[in-house]
């Protein structure tokens, strides 16, 4: 795509409270996933691979780590002359005197001057906490082809679950005729993915109006999209059919990691034509010890395994001591499972130490255990 034809804005604000202790220090988009990645690597890599040069990341709360993580734009190749990843924190004061964005639309409105500086024709709006691979330039081609005012990416969900989503009802050409937020009786199964392409000039006008509207929640789903439909704008649905996962809970984060163990997993991170880029770390390769047993596992560089690992995902610098057993678990960076310890159906957070012979998690637990602080040895 031509330089700055389309700018991307990633809404990365959410604290992700359902991810519990994983997000006390980091914003949800900075949470680890898949052995070496952070969630936000996915939208950022998608942007880079789609030929988008400039990305704004809209953050709030205490997100020093997220901010300095995304500021290293070279990680996604977005460091050429006129490219960049820019962290955009809230600047206006909301009604309650808090320095936060009041809604998804407000987050964009507060950064109109930033966007104007690049004078893009189109604006792509993304969410920072979904796992998927998507070529936004194809979505833009669809947008142009339909002469749309806005295009919204949708995916088919099982009909019985449709009432949990924002559902787009379209005509046979893909034109959106109705949008229903969590409808009791859904008329279609096309759920919004929170990915929008707008004609920037039009959106800019609507945002300026919306800012002045005291009754608005300043939200794309609640305000902007309904108003566009009201005004008979041309909104089109772009159907996406690949792997997509919202990792909003500990269970779904665990599940998304487990998906990678499937030899036929749809996400296929090994595809060299659409790589996901992330932080580069200096470590040894992974070392599998003399008496180690490793099967059905997804393991990255810097991991050292002396014990047994089954059906698990291990992140950079994780250590599994001799005689330790890791089953059906996710072991985040730098976590150490000491000798003889057992970890089952658990998600062990960054740098946590599971002491010698300690036991964590249960084989048939309903939920996945999040282990966010050190566990003492089981033998004292």
């Amino acid at each position: 795509m031509a330089q700055n034809e389309m700018l991307a804005m990633i809404l990365a604000g959410g604290r992700g409270s359902r991810l519990k202790d994983l997000t006390t220090k980091v914003a949800k988009p900075a949470v680890y996933y898949g052995g070496k990645y952070r969630i936000i690597d996915f939208p950022l890599s998608n942007c880079a691979n789609s030929g988008i040069d400039v990305v704004g990341v809209l953050t709030q709360y205490e997100s020093v780590l997220l901010n300095s993580y995304v500021a290293q734009d070279g990680r996604w190749g977005l460091d050429s002359k006129d490219s960049g990843v820019y962290v955009l924190t809230p600047r206006e004061k909301a009604d309650e005197g808090l320095d936060v964005y009041r809604g998804t639309a407000d987050a964009i409105s507060q950064n109109i001057d930033f966007i104007d500086a690049y004078n893009p024709e189109y604006l792509l709006i993304l969410s920072g906490d979904h796992i998927y691979k998507m070529n936004y330039s194809k979505m833009l081609a669809y947008h142009k082809e339909h002469n749309a005012d806005a295009t919204i990416a949708v995916r088919g969900v099982p009909m019985k679950e449709a009432s949990r989503f924002g559902i787009m009802n379209t005509d046979h050409k893909g034109r959106i005729i109705e949008f229903e937020e969590k409808p009791a009786k859904p008329k279609s199964n096309l759920a919004s993915m929170g990915i929008y392409i707008f004609d920037w000039k039009l959106l800019r006008k609507m945002l300026v109006d919306d800012m002045k509207n005291p009754n608005s929640d300043h939200d794309f789903g609640k305000d902007i999209i309904p108003r566009m439909l009201n005004e008979k704008k041309d909104l089109f649905a772009y159907e996406f059919s690949g792997y997509w996962k919202d990792v909003g809970t500990i269970d779904s984060l665990w599940e998304a990691n487990m998906d990678l163990l499937d030899p036929k997993n749809e996400l296929n991170l090994n595809d060299s034509s659409w790589l996901i880029y992330t932080e580069d770390v200096s470590t040894l390769p992974q070392y599998i010890g003399k008496d180690a047993k490793v099967k059905r596992a997804y393991i990255t560089q810097g991991v050292q395994i002396e014990g047994s690992v089954t059906n698990s995902v291990l992140f950079t610098g994780a250590v599994v001591g001799a005689g330790a057993k890791v089953v059906d678990s996710v072991i985040m960076p730098g976590a150490v499972i000491e000798e003889g310890a057992t970890v089952t159906r658990a998600l062990v957070a960054e740098n946590v130490k599971i002491g010698k012979k300690a036991k964590v998690g249960q084989k048939n637990s309903e939920n996945i255990v999040l282990v966010a602080s050190n566990v003492k040895g089981g033998n004292k």
Partner: protein
């Protein structure tokens, strides 16, 4: 504060590593799966605060040019610092005249134009860890005119055959520099690493090229060590010279001892490399892996023992890899047995049932070969 220009030298044509070197210079050899040999000298320099570095390339420059690139992954400031690639122009890569002195002579402008007072020269074909600030400080303190790095070894009869040995006096003064003829096991191996003033370096390069067009820097130093104060500085820790296939294989296998390897890779002395953005490695139900270093991006269904596996390697069900080095993107089909072998990049082992070498003569499988 003394500062040094870093020079990464290239192996001359008296050295040839069978097989591997047909495709790239030693500096571009894969090492321990995810590194290339040249990552070690450049990381040593970067960690020693040397950020003006010249890399000399005398043949097949593509792989090193691509790997080194702008040097940002080595933590070199991209404005103030610079990794400069310098090429040998006026002779073919196979010529006997194509040695280090010729390379320096052809690029003398770029050496003289540098602001630094000292040069530190380190080879692109040896692996070791050394703080060059310590070497430079010692060099200045002792008042030596040239300080060289050496390593004491006890297996010179079998290994380090392409290296030079040092004869030292009690004061660590260098008496002579000779080829290792394997006459004894205990030797001081010259690590082809030198610290000296830039002006003296330029003078020695000019002297060498004036005396003989096949003189190397080690040759001129041997000749001059009677006149100059040339001192040796002992290196301790892991040291490997990758100047023959046996030495390369031996040095790699030594690092399968996790303690040796982790001693070499401490967090206060990172070894930088260029990331390939490969995803983690996937181990399948039937995988059986022991005492091995595995790089990212592999798909492992078979058995791997005492081996080093490069990036993106596929090892199918029932395949057995033992005491071997498998380089990036190689594919080992189901049921194949590989022992004491070095399988080069992109090779496909599809039909050959067994590939078996010995500890002293590892079997080598060519790049992109299909067997």
């Amino acid at each position: 504060m003394a500062t040094a220009l870093g020079i990464v030298s290239s192996a001359d044509n008296t050295i040839h590593v069978d097989g591997l070197q047909d495709y790239r210079p030693i500096g571009a050899f894969s090492f321990l799966g995810r590194f290339r040999v040249i990552d070690f000298p450049i990381s040593n320099m970067s960690n020693s605060d040397i950020n003006r570095i010249q890399v000399y390339l005398n043949s097949r420059p593509r792989s090193i040019a691509e790997h080194v690139g702008s040097g940002r992954h080595y933590n070199i400031n991209s404005k103030r610092g610079k990794i400069q690639l310098l090429f040998t122009e006026n002779t073919s890569s196979r010529s006997i005249y194509n040695n280090d002195i010729l390379a320096y002579k052809e690029n003398l402008d770029y050496i003289q134009r540098a602001h630094q007072e000292y040069v530190i020269i380190t080879p692109s074909y040896m692996v070791y860890k050394q703080d060059f600030r310590q070497l430079l400080d010692t060099h200045i303190q002792t008042g030596a005119e040239v300080t060289v790095l050496y390593h004491k070894i006890d297996n010179a009869r079998d290994y380090f055959k392409n290296c030079h040995t040092l004869s030292l006096n009690k004061q660590k003064g260098v008496q002579a520099i000779e080829k290792n003829l394997g006459t004894a096991n205990n030797k001081n191996i010259l690590m082809d690493t030198y610290c000296l003033k830039k002006d003296l370096f330029v003078e020695l390069v000019n002297d060498a090229s004036f005396m003989s067009s096949i003189y190397t820097f080690a040759d001129i130093l041997n000749l001059m060590c009677k006149q100059l104060d040339v001192r040796a500085f002992q290196h301790k820790g892991y040291f490997a010279s990758l100047t023959s296939l046996q030495d390369y294989y031996h040095a790699s296998m030594e690092l399968l001892d996790y303690n040796t390897a982790s001693e070499m890779f401490k967090s206060d002395w990172p070894i930088y490399t260029r990331t390939t953005d490969s995803c983690p490695t996937q181990y399948f139900e039937s995988a059986k892996v022991n005492n091995s270093f595995i790089s990212n991006g592999c798909l492992i269904e078979g058995t791997v023992e005492n081996s080093i596996i490069g990036r993106g390697v596929t090892i199918k069900k029932g395949a057995v890899v033992k005491n071997s080095i498998i380089m990036a993107y190689a594919e080992i089909e189901a049921g194949i047995r590989i022992e004491n072998a070095i399988v080069d990049k992109w090779a496909k082992i599809l039909h050959a049932k067994t590939i078996i070498g010995t500890e002293n003569e590892p079997q080598y499988i060519k790049r992109q070969d299909t067997l």
